[in-house]
């Protein structure tokens, strides 16, 4: 009924056109399914929860060149100044800013060095008892630092003996879930885990352990330093505008740079992923449009080539719907061929990408989804010219020359 | 100037062999005006295509001005066509998006003639067919007879010694047909050799020499004289 056989015969006679269409559909399917998968992968990455109220936090970098003040004391005063500003919830000095792509990490030992033992990699932050509140994270277990546990010093020999860790780190170090109260070592220095935070990310979202974070109650004021500030919701922009001048007024032999919000910091760190995402989206949209236009154009051409033949068919009693169906079936046949090749190519290409680049393995539902979308798209591209073909008058068959 | 000996043309398809020409013998002398008639499917057009080197032949020998056409490359045949032969078709075959001037110019360009010389020739040829004032018109702005006259001007522009006309009046009414025929006769008087395929017995009679092709062979003229008039024009024309 669907006249598949005569259609196939007709296709065999105009092989090249059909093959070209098939190639286009195949490559389109291969590219789109892989690109869609990469997009999905990056979306998940970019939209992940960091554990911080990013929209309320900002940070400042300060470089002090004056040598006429005691740095530790100066920063204590700065922190007090910041915490008393209207709109500020809390502020803390730190060696690094989470999510910024810049910071420190180390292997935390379960045994004191140089004894051999397992190491667990973690990004670490130095901060006082205001750090948790400043970052806006909540303790899941244990307690915050007591103020007398915070070591404020310029003497590298003096170190604290407690730490607060992220739950991911605690679980990796103590898989039984009993990390609270246990010891861990940085070099030969022991630290007791006194608190566990449910979720917080380290300085690098692309670290192989992005969720492993350790906070030490330690302030070793240095000439190059970061200050993290959390504000009341909606107050951040106002606070950011004036903060530099207020700190400079307190002491001016220093330079403040990089007054930057946490979300902007994260955006900059992830800019290349956003770029990839956008490029791939443009690529997919344009590619699908081009393929659709190609099918559209070719069908138009085929129809004008077959005007007389279509007229003859109409004269012989074909209905308009028969003509439309003819083109739809023809297109579906080509498209199915293209999709079979395209899906295979997509899977092969996915394997290549997996091998060559650090991309995850292509999931099959993306291939299937793309195939369905491409089929629908080709049908849409055909239906308009096919309807036009159906309008051809049967009289063209009898008109000579 | 044209000698065909034992020329055969076989069209081979999957199922059947069709002999379009078989052992075809013909000699055309310089300055002749020959009308070729014959029933539909007899091989008239095949003969003309082979004579014009538009189609290769299967066997036999074809000499054009003492040159054996069979031994020529495609490029040599194209050059020869360009220099010696002018075509006039039933369907005029003007190139639709070139104006009259440019249509006539086509063969001259392929011959590599300089622009000034081309201009001179084109203008004189268009003048000769009476369309000198319409050089800038496009073919679809002209009547059928005018279009055919342009096609003749195009054929003449290359100053061919040999004109091949395939049903030149087939698409024209009788008045226009007569005008075209008169033009051809004039060209023949000016020295060109003309072979014209037609199935209009009246036109054929005006030519000094008539031959008839039946089943791919030159047939005895006297025997078939009566038949030609009954040939179905519609079928051949389509």
């Amino acid at each position: 009924m669907l006249e598949i056989k005569p259609i196939i015969n007709a296709l065999r006679r105009s092989k090249v056109g059909a093959i070209l269409l098939l190639i286009q559909i195949a490559i389109t399917t291969a590219i789109v399914s892989n690109a869609a998968f990469i997009i999905q992968d990056r979306m998940t990455y970019l939209q992940q929860e960091t554990g911080y109220p990013e929209q309320d936090i900002f940070s400042i970098t300060v470089m002090t060149y004056g040598k006429d003040r005691d740095l530790s004391q100066q920063f204590e005063e700065d922190e007090a100044l910041l915490r008393n500003l209207p709109g500020v919830v809390d502020a803390a000095l730190s060696n690094a800013v989470p999510l910024s792509g810049s910071g420190s990490a180390s292997g935390m030992g379960l045994k004191p060095a140089p004894e051999p033992g397992r190491n667990v990699r973690a990004g670490y932050l130095f901060g006082d008892d205001h750090m948790l509140n400043t970052l806006g994270v909540e303790l899941m277990e244990g307690r915050n630092f007591a103020s007398d546990e915070v070591i404020v010093t310029q003497d590298p020999g003096k170190v604290p003996n407690v730490a607060i860790v992220s739950s991911t780190f605690a679980l990796e170090a103590y898989p039984d879930g009993d990390g609270l109260g246990k010891l861990m070592y940085m070099g030969d220095k022991p630290f007791k885990i006194i608190g566990i935070v449910d979720k917080m990310k380290g300085p690098w979202l692309k670290d192989d352990r992005p969720d492993n974070v350790v906070i030490f109650p330690y302030i070793k004021a240095e000439t190059y330093q970061h200050i993290i500030v959390r504000t009341e919701p909606g107050q951040r922009a106002t606070v950011m505008q004036t903060v530099e001048d207020k700190l400079l007024a307190a002491y001016d032999k220093r330079v403040f740079t990089n007054v930057i919000t946490l979300d902007e910091n994260k955006r900059q760190y992830n800019a290349s992923d956003t770029l990839m995402l956008r490029m791939l989206m443009v690529l997919i949209v344009v590619l699908v449009a081009i393929t659709a236009l190609g099918i559209f154009g070719l069908t138009l051409f085929n129809i004008s080539k077959r005007t007389r033949q279509i007229g003859t068919r109409r004269a012989l009693g074909a209905r308009k719907s028969d003509i439309i169906r003819y083109f739809l079936v023809e297109n579906t046949l080509i498209c199915s061929g293209g999709l079979i090749i395209g899906c295979t190519a997509a899977v092969l290409m996915g394997q290549q990408l997996l091998q060559r680049f650090s991309l995850p393995a292509l999931e099959f539902q993306y291939v299937a989804g793309t195939a369905i979308m491409v089929l629908v798209m080709t049908l849409v591209a055909v239906i308009f010219p096919a309807r036009r073909a159906a309008q051809i008058s049967p009289s063209v068959a009898t008109r000579s020359i | 100037m044209l000698i065909m000996k034992n020329v055969s043309k076989v069209y081979q398809t999957e199922m059947v062999q069709t002999h379009a020409l078989r052992d075809f013998d013909l000699e055309v002398k310089e300055g002749e005006f020959i009308a070729v008639t014959g029933p539909s499917g007899s091989g008239k057009t095949t003969f003309l295509n082979i004579a014009g080197m538009l189609e290769p032949y299967t066997s036999g020998e074809y000499m054009l001005d003492d040159v054996n056409v069979g031994g020529l490359s495609d490029n040599q045949r194209a050059d020869l066509r360009n220099q010696k032969i002018g075509f006039i078709f039933q369907g005029f075959n003007l190139i639709p998006d070139l104006n009259l001037y440019e249509n006539v110019e086509v063969p001259l360009r392929y011959r590599g003639i300089k622009a000034a010389e081309r201009k001179k020739r084109i203008e004189s040829c268009l003048e000769q067919v009476g369309l000198g004032s319409r050089a800038k018109h496009l073919p679809q702005q002209l009547s059928g007879g005018q279009q055919q006259r342009v096609a003749i001007a195009r054929a003449l522009a290359g100053e061919p010694r040999f004109l091949l006309a395939d049903e030149p009046t087939g698409n024209l009414d009788s008045l226009m047909a007569r005008q075209v025929m008169e033009l051809l006769e004039q060209i023949n008087r000016d020295g060109a050799t003309i072979v014209m395929v037609t199935h209009d017995p009246e036109l054929a009679r005006r030519a000094p020499r008539n031959i008839q092709i039946v089943d791919g062979q030159v047939a005895d003229l006297t025997l078939y004289q009566g038949v030609t008039g009954q040939t179905d024009r519609q079928v051949v024309g389509g």
Binding site: M276, V282 | R81
Partner: protein, 437 residues
């Protein structure tokens, strides 16, 4: 004849405006997308110092004990320890060599005219300027004596000189780096490359430092790096002095080796250096190992071209292939429809070659128009790239090579797509189309 073909091609494109538009659009988009990713790739993978990239080498030493791992693909550390960098820099061979690290200072003139600002600074040997062919606008590099005495002297960039001194000859003037007064001895012309190829640790495409000071100041002023420090061994580091004596990797090192003989001679030297260091209890290894890569091998090894970009380039070329298949189909249909006209031309004496040429020129014009439009689309794309990723700003531009390649790629692509249809149309038997209409 060529001009005539162009005229014919133009008429033919105008005769089917919709199809021509589709084809030009396809090629323009294909080229636009391809050029966007290719331009970034081109800038990323460009040889930053073409005339001597094969003579500049970055040595690596395997200082780690057996069984220790680092991140690199061949397990060699990317950077050197301070002691190795210093020792190698003080070795008699080769002639030009420089150890270096990136740090930073607050720059000011100790007056209120210019508000203090932070500036990246490179601490290095004076050979640095010779190695990387930097030319001086004013003054010169510091002398050996100044280096030996750890004098506070500095070479600054032309840009910084503009900012601080309005571009005038500032040799002999003072600037403050933090609270130390430095005397300017030279001003260098801008670098000719957008790539910080000599130190790719914290972004290979950041701009170069604006201040250069002698290597000996690292010890004299206890300068720490602003770049990466990587350790593998537990050592108690309590001071900068500890760090300088530690096994931490934090310095870069470049040498100039003129020929293969020099390269192998230097390799031998590195082996003997490591063997000698073993006497001090370092290099606890069965097998001594070093790396010696030239600039391009080094950039390749450090994966300076981002993977994402490579994926994009590959995908864009596939995209271009789709556009070509698209054009091929349309050309085929278009040319075959014109077969009767070609039949007439053939009958009038056109050779196959002439017909072929006519059609190839027509598709080349298609390529040219598409290519030029593609440049426009690529500019739009690159603008989007710069907007999304500021770090790529110096990369997301088309240099002359790329501007020229766009139409060349477009035309070649179109010609490739046009070959088959043009061949098909020129080999049709003319007779077939003359009788019927």
């Amino acid at each position: 004849m060529f001009l005539h073909y162009i005229d014919l091609g133009w008429r033919s494109l105008r005769r089917t405006p919709l199809v021509s538009f589709l084809m030009v659009l396809a090629i323009a988009l294909g080229i636009g997308i391809t050029m966007t990713s290719l331009s970034v790739y081109h800038m990323m993978s460009m040889d930053p110092i073409e005339h001597k990239s094969s003579r500049l080498f970055h040595p690596q030493l395997q200082t780690m004990d057996d069984g220790e791992d680092t991140w690199s693909e061949d397990n060699l550390p990317y950077q050197l320890t301070y002691q190795d960098a210093k020792n190698l820099a003080e070795a008699p061979f080769p002639q030009y060599k420089a150890a270096m690290l990136r740090t930073g200072f607050t720059v000011h003139l100790d007056n209120s005219e210019i508000r203090p600002f932070i500036q990246n600074t490179r601490v290095t040997h004076s050979d640095f300027f010779t190695l990387f062919d930097l030319s001086f606008i004013y003054g010169s590099a510091w002398t050996q004596e100044q280096a030996d005495a750890a004098s506070p002297v500095a070479v600054i960039s032309e840009e910084l000189n503009q900012k601080l001194f309005g571009g005038e000859n500032s040799v002999g003037r003072q600037i403050y780096l933090d609270d130390t007064s430095f005397r300017i001895v030279g001003v260098i012309a801008p670098w000719e490359t957008h790539m910080k190829f000599y130190d790719v640790n914290n972004g290979a495409f950041n701009s170069q430092e604006s201040i250069y000071i002698p290597f000996s100041l690292i010890a004299a002023m206890d300068i720490n790096t602003w770049g990466n420090s990587n350790g593998w061994k537990f050592q108690n580091i309590r001071s900068m002095k500890d760090k300088r004596q530690s096994e931490i990797f934090w310095l870069q090192f470049w040498v100039q080796l003129e020929d293969e003989a020099a390269v192998s001679q230097y390799g031998d030297y590195l082996m003997s250096y490591m063997a000698e260091q073993q006497k001090f209890g370092r290099f606890n290894r069965e097998q001594l190992e070093y790396g010696l890569r030239d600039v391009n091998a080094w950039l390749d090894y450090r994966n300076v071209v981002s993977e994402d970009n490579e994926v994009l380039v590959a995908l864009s070329f596939m995209f271009l292939a789709v556009c070509l298949a698209n054009i091929l189909g349309l050309l085929l249909a278009k040319f075959m429809r014109r077969a009767p006209e070609v039949g007439v031309r053939r009958a009038l004496g056109a050779s196959k070659r002439q017909v072929f040429l006519q059609h190839i020129i027509e598709v080349s014009m298609l390529g040219l128009i598409g290519g030029l439009m593609g440049i426009g689309i690529a500019q739009l794309g690159l603008w989007g790239v710069r907007l999304t990723q500021e770090y790529y700003s110096p990369l997301a531009t088309m240099d002359l090579t790329m501007l020229l390649s766009a139409p060349v790629i477009a035309i070649s692509a179109c010609v490739i797509a046009g070959l088959y249809p043009a061949w098909l149309v020129c080999r049709t038997t003319p007779a077939t189309y003359l009788k019927t209409q």
